[in-house]
């Protein structure tokens, strides 16, 4: 059996409040987001992934040489070609015979990578561990309402067979063709969304959660926590509510209110937050979204022994910036091109 043996997160220090957008634009289009995290001028998904991964390695108490799989999930890798997972592997000291892959082009890349990593570790008899890190900082045009919600963060998990703290019991995946919803063509810097009146997010997550519950013979009340993809601060609550989950089940893992939409890292960042408070035997239901959905059932085992930097600490250690500084960090005001 394989499962989660350690985890760590990273949230950048800078925050911008909804009010700053209202001052600049007259409105703030990200429902339920009070403030969001902003990636610093010298940060990107690679640097965030390295921080989260190092935190995860510390919490698992393993030697990085004992890692033979590094999967990175992101929709906003710095290079369109040249794997960022390899940079992360080099930076954490996972050397030599390591399998690396970037999972990308969808906000459900995080769960896809988690499941792939689990399968890899399960089928591998070397006794070594896998690292899956979801790190994302999606970008949209500054004059698009889609941009308002976008934040940045990373969450990393060590998957192994020894000292498991949470088991990944079962998953259900759905593939759903979508058109005009959150896309970015090759060579384009910004994601777009045609704001079609479709219910893909709700439909996909409803389908995967219901199917997973059915296959496990479980109901909403059997889960202590539910985590749902968070494109803003309200969508997850709306969908979870319709599926019969309470606010209490959702609130621990509903972070977009403070981080904004962190894309492919959304559900895994929330999973880390839930693992921090979950108790032995409690079940977690998690469902991602992005042209389909992965729903995953997790059962919490033994608590972590090694110290870790809690997500609370990252959420509290913050510095507010104004909208002009925000635009500078997003390089919107730069004419300098390298």
């Amino acid at each position: 059996m394989a499962g989660i043996v350690g985890y760590g997160v990273y949230v950048p220090k800078y925050r911008i409040k909804a009010e700053e957008y209202i001052k600049a634009w007259g409105n703030f289009a990200a429902d339920g987001v009070k403030e969001k995290s902003v990636v610093g001028c010298d940060e990107d998904v690679v640097t965030m992934a390295i921080e989260a991964s190092n935190n995860a390695i510390k919490s698992a108490g393993i030697d990085p040489k004992n890692i033979n799989t590094v999967y990175l999930a992101t929709t906003s890798a710095p290079y369109a070609e040249k794997p960022s997972s390899v940079t992360v592997a080099a930076a954490i000291g996972a050397e030599g015979d390591v399998r690396t892959a970037d999972f990308t082009t969808s906000t459900k890349a995080g769960t896809a990578a988690l499941l792939a990593c689990l399968e890899r570790v399960k089928s591998d008899d070397s006794g070594r561990c896998g690292l899956i890190v979801a790190s994302d900082a999606p970008a949209a045009a500054p004059d698009s309402s889609l941009e308002h919600a976008l934040g940045g963060a990373a969450a990393a998990f060590i998957i192994g067979k020894k000292n498991i703290i949470a088991t990944i019991d079962k998953s259900y995946s759905l593939s759903m063709e979508t058109l005009g919803e959150r896309f970015r063509k090759r060579d384009e810097p910004y994601i777009r969304d045609l704001e079609l009146r479709v219910q893909h997010l709700q439909n996909a997550i409803t389908a995967t959660i219901k199917n997973l519950q059915k296959s496990l013979n479980l109901e909403p009340k059997d889960f202590a926590y539910v985590v749902v993809q968070q494109p803003d601060g309200r969508a997850a609550a709306r969908i979870a509510g319709k599926l019969g989950f309470s606010k209490k089940q959702l609130s621990t893992g509903n972070l977009a209110e403070y981080t904004g939409d962190v894309g492919a890292a959304s559900t895994l960042l929330s999973l880390a937050a839930v693992l921090e408070s979950a108790k032995h035997g409690e079940k977690i239901l998690l469902a991602s979204y992005g042209s389909g959905s992965d729903a995953i059932c997790i059962t919490v085992g033994a608590p972590l022994a090694a110290p870790k930097i809690e997500i609370k600490e990252y959420l509290q250690n913050k510095e507010y910036i104004d909208y002009v500084k925000y635009l500078k960090l997003k390089k919107v005001l730069s004419t300098f091109r390298t």
Binding site: G40, D42, E43, V46, E51, A91, S334, F336, T338
Partner: protein, 139 residues
Amino acid sequence: MTSYISLPSYLNTIDQRYRLIGKKCKSCGTVNFPPRVMCIECGGRDFEDIKLSGRGKIHAFTIISRGSAPSEFDDQQNMTGEFGVAVIELEEGPRIIGQLTDCDPNPEKIRIGTEVRATVRKLYEQEGVIRYGYKFTPV
């Protein structure tokens, strides 16, 4: 501008820039960082790798105002204006210069002796290639 430090040279030092791997002299025990062919203290040539913790203290610092950095940092200064640079005394002994990040570049708030830790950040981008490497952030 063209390259000052070639990409192959940079690649040769990523163990240092990404992970702070020092070289401990087998003759005298001195930790050499950055690595040298011959020990800075005794001239010895046999070393073992040592992963430095990245923790240390500010030995001296300055605040680089806009226009006072080498040109490859113009992009960063466009975004942030001034930034801190410090000589850090690492807890294993060696000193190294590094940029301060996630740190208010206010000389009234930074002190000699302030504790810092290393973090990997983007240093600069050139020829379309991002150089990642350590910076330091107050603990």
